[in-house]
Amino acid sequence: MSEPDLSVELCGVRLRNPTVLASGILGLSEDLLMRVGDAGAGAVVTKSCGLKPRAGYPNPVIADWGAGVINAVGLSNPGVEATAQEIRVAKRALKSRNIAVIASIFAESVWDFGTVAEKISDAEPDLIEVNISCPNVEHEFGQFFCATPYVAAQVTRRVKQSTPIPIIVKLSPNEANIAEIAKAVVQAGADAISAINTLGPGMVLDIESRAPIISNRVGGISGAAIHPIAVRCVYDIARATPRVPLIGIGGNTTTRDAIEMIIAGAHAVGVGSAILSRGLAVFDEITRGIAEYMTRHNFARLADFRARVMDTAPVSGVR
């Protein structure tokens, strides 16, 4: 059998493999985006940028408590203009290597989401990821943009009207029904979905001083601890919006985690916190691991096992 084909198409953009650097990890400068691309990622996502520069919260903004990672960075970013410049440079370097550059954006109002999208589009990122799901920053009405299908759809519509570039809407696991939100953003024009953002917020305390470890007191949870929840969310979304490209993110640490995500319905797999324990080699290791799995199962393409969760009989009643 010939080599399995690991490439994947997201909204007309072809990735050489399904691994994607998750937003918020390393994507601070063009050099770092290029370094992650060179390490093997199929696509790289910038840190989320907003209308104006933000310093974020004081340290500690992130802590590894052993079973997972908690963070509240506070959406620190140098502003959309600086990020646009970073994307221009990174794109020039990564285009020839078939590595997609995805711009992540956030805003504090529905209107500003459109303004940021318009400004970032000037740098021509391959795709735009709309971060409506950061659990650490509340929006204008004291509620998250992903909290209701209505507001999530409003943001999506506003961004869609502001840019010709395909948009990915990033969803949160912290709402009651992620499938309903997925349907709403797709109806409003989302070209793709990514899920999940961090879970929570959670809290980690120091028992000696009795202080919360991170400065914001509470933060989003990532890492291996949240992977089963991410798999369930991806499964739910894939069934609710079956034709929409989906990036499965959340605790992908090993090859097994990534394959599980694809079986649940993901077209591509985000990798973030795993870099902490496995280094940048994790992209290449996961890609090679998926190839071995495909060879072993005689799968020629990722689509041969994507969204193929075994249909088990529903359990009725408890014995």
């Binding site: 601070l28 520069p53 974020g56 500690p60 140098p78 502003g79 000696e208 001083s209």
Partner: protein
Amino acid sequence: MLPHVVKITHIISENAYTKTFILDDAIPNAMPGQFIMLWLPGLDEKPFAIVARDPLTISVAAVGPFSRALHARAIGDLVGWRGAFGRGFDLRGDGEALLIGGGYGVAALYFAARELRNQNAPVTIAMGGRATQDLLFEDRFNALGANVLIATEDGSRGTRGFVTNALGAVRATRILACGPEAMLVAVMKLALAKNIPAQLSVERYMKCGFGICGQCTLSGKLVCQDGPVFTASELSKLPEFGRVHRDASGATHFFQGRGARRV
């Protein structure tokens, strides 16, 4: 790894604005040039070079809100630390080592000097500051049997001018340096011109300390993980070195004046 939260057991005033803090803990595997993230619970967390392993010791100049808050702490107060992080100095090899330190950068070199003296390597320390009151650890280096060279910008002690003017004829086979970036640039040029292997410890704004946030990027190298110690030849290939640093938002700034960072 969560921070280890321990008591401060000793506080030593080193000069007008620098104190040494000895913690009720040890960090047995730490190498000179590596750093810890020091946490003041409820306030902030910053990187500091390790000055000694056992007991864990750091020296901090009061130059910003965090370091001033640390200076206000007393013996018995709790602080948190995590580490050791980063790539430290490589002390293998032999021959005389020339250590070049500016301001509080001298403290980080003391750990290296002690290890080198344990290996019986000859050590020269060239330390610089704006004035006599900025000098640090002179007695400690003397006690190690190191040759001490001094430069002050106001000429109140030693050679007048920058520390790189005080070196005279350099006989060393290796150079270690820690200090303001403008000094490091001068050391890098000197080392490359004289073809002496040099390792320089670089500072950047840090958040995570363990290589995933990207905040401390130096032309794509992570100062927290690939550094903070880089060779002169590595630094000569990084266009941001000596020119650009980033603030907490990630925005870039050009170095001004002597390139001192305030924490």
